[in-house]
Symmetry: C2
Subunit: 77 residues, 2 copies
Amino acid sequence: MKRFAVYVTSKEGIFDPAGENSRKALKSLGFSGVTDLAIGKYIELEVEDSNTEEEVAKMCEKLLANPVIEDYKIKEL
Amino acid sequence: MKRFAVYVTSKEGIFDPAGENSRKALKSLGFSGVTDLAIGKYIELEVEDSNTEEEVAKMCEKLLANPVIEDYKIKEL
């Protein structure tokens, strides 16, 4: 078995309401030093040994990320 | 400014319906080699230099993660 981690983040310039709301909520809880906060997805996959990183990239393009508004990074664990 | 990454994942034994549904959807798209898939959150924070990793851990405990059902890892970038 192989394990991969996938990090999915909003592309530069795409509004991230969840991140913005969390930053405001942290501020109202007294954490005033947060100047930026972005929320994305962290995905861990376990795949059979025959699967390659290119295969995982195809999974991202087709389902795990939305390539129009999101970037993704893949790392073998 | 300092930057931190936070990885939030479901604790062992907590059901992850989004991950399970994505695994099934990948299978129906022809990606049959995925044996496990877990979806969590990937958060990037930019904070003022006076903020420490302990401060970020407090943000996780209070808002960014649900410590009852989720684990989190913090890494300075």
